[in-house]
């Protein structure tokens, strides 16, 4: 009830005040106009300021902070053998020191030693042997440098430390994964690079009956372009 009264009072106040303001404004305008209207020729200012408006043109300089590419290598799945892995990565370079990277990769699990030796029923069905991961990582260009090949060729390089989180789909489940590793980036030109990466993908799994932490080491060679 109280708020309704307050609202009513407020609207009454606004209804009276607003037209009043408008009237006041109009009145002042009509008062001022005649004063300005009659400038005599002798009142011209001595110096006419000629201020040239400076036109600010923001240069459209092409930026090349994104890096996209594909990679292929080997990934050893703990207990399930080593197989070829391939994937794609996209990175954004925030500063000369730091970058963020998202990657997806895929490989296929082999047989455990137990499965091979005992000849018993397989532990996983065919589709469960697909191993797919995605990672969201942050990287630090720890050791930038140059390498020299022969007398005439010098290439910029960087050794970077990288780590992050992600998910791994293996054995029919999605598993929260942590990845960490080190990589070497060699810039062939200003906008193409070769990567050599070593990465450990860590997750907890109970696939073989007991809970354990599984370390899955990956080595890959990649090619990227900056854009």
């Amino acid at each position: 009830m109280e708020s309704r009264i307050r609202l009513f009072l407020l609207s009454v106040a606004m209804a009276t005040a607003l037209p009043g303001c408008a009237l006041l404004g109009l009145g002042r305008d009509s008062d001022e106009t005649p004063e300005v209207a009659a400038p005599s020729p002798g009142d011209q200012p001595v110096i006419q300021p000629e201020v040239a408006r400076r036109e600010i043109v923001t240069p459209r300089i092409e930026t090349e902070n994104f890096e996209v590419g594909a990679f292929a290598g080997i990934l050893g799945i703990e207990d399930f053998g080593t197989n070829t892995v391939y994937g794609v990565r996209l990175a954004y370079h925030i500063t000369e020191d730091f970058f963020v990277e998202g990657a997806i990769g895929q490989t296929r699990a082999g047989k455990t030693s137990y499965e091979s030796l005992s000849g018993s029923a397989p532990l996983l069905v065919d589709s469960e042997r697909d191993y797919r991961y995605y990672t969201l990582s942050a990287g630090w260009n720890a050791l930038p440098g140059e390498i020299f090949i022969g007398r005439n060729h010098a290439y910029n390089t960087a050794l970077y430390l990288i780590g992050g989180v992600g998910s791994t789909r293996f054995g029919g489940d999605d598993l929260f994964s942590i990845n960490a590793g080190v990589g070497y980036r060699l810039l062939l030109t200003d906008w193409t690079a070769i990567h050599l990466d070593f990465r450990d993908h860590v997750f907890d799994t109970d696939l073989l009956g007991t809970n354990k932490t599984s370390h899955n080491l990956e080595t890959h060679l990649g090619l990227t372009v900056f854009f």
Partner: protein
Amino acid sequence: MQGRIRRAGLVMGLLLLQSTVWQTASAADEYQVVVADPYLELHTGPGRGYPVFYVIDRGLTVTVLKQRTDWFKVRSDRGKEGWVSRAEILATLGLKGDPLELKEPSRGDFESRRWEAGVMAGDFGGASVLSVYGAYSFTDSLALELTGSHILGNFSNGVLGTLSLVHTFVPEWRVSPYFTLGTGMIMMSPRTTLVQGPDRTDQIAHVGVGLRGYLTRRFMARIEYRSNVVFTSRDDNEEVDEWKAGFAFFF
């Protein structure tokens, strides 16, 4: 056979034409500046550690080719190409003697941002959660946010999609608290190593608070708490606490 050669020639011709068109287009983007400091140092790479291999004297013109992070690739009038730091390029002048206007996102842009996107990771009722989100701000303080999350637990996995309204109390603060309210859908499926149960899809609603902190350029850090209620088909609703921290950018 001849047709194939002709076709190959045509494709080559088109490619060449395309590349020339592209080159002229990129040439139009090039920007020329005059060295105003005693000299301009050219590094071999885009970083402070890369050595200086060439200097360009005052008064000479250089062409700015491109930018990577805070480094600019330039070409001297003698054709030498190298990388110059932002501080040094800002000390040059345009061809008309005007100072260089390089637009760089700053805190002012952070306060009046329109689009924001980021990734977050954290804990969702004991399970790990990874989120990607995008937001659009109607005003400096009110935004609509779409979040997609991947929940990775010991007993079940799931995906979660929410739409929320985010209100930032004081958008001009560098570290700025906000309030969030929203709803969405959650789909959970039990882990395959456990007894198979049915997948469940339920509606979910949340209230939460968070902090957003401006880092640098167009980047910010973000930390958030959400109190979720899952409207299950069982008798009781489920309440889940969610903690997340992450990293975002605005544009």
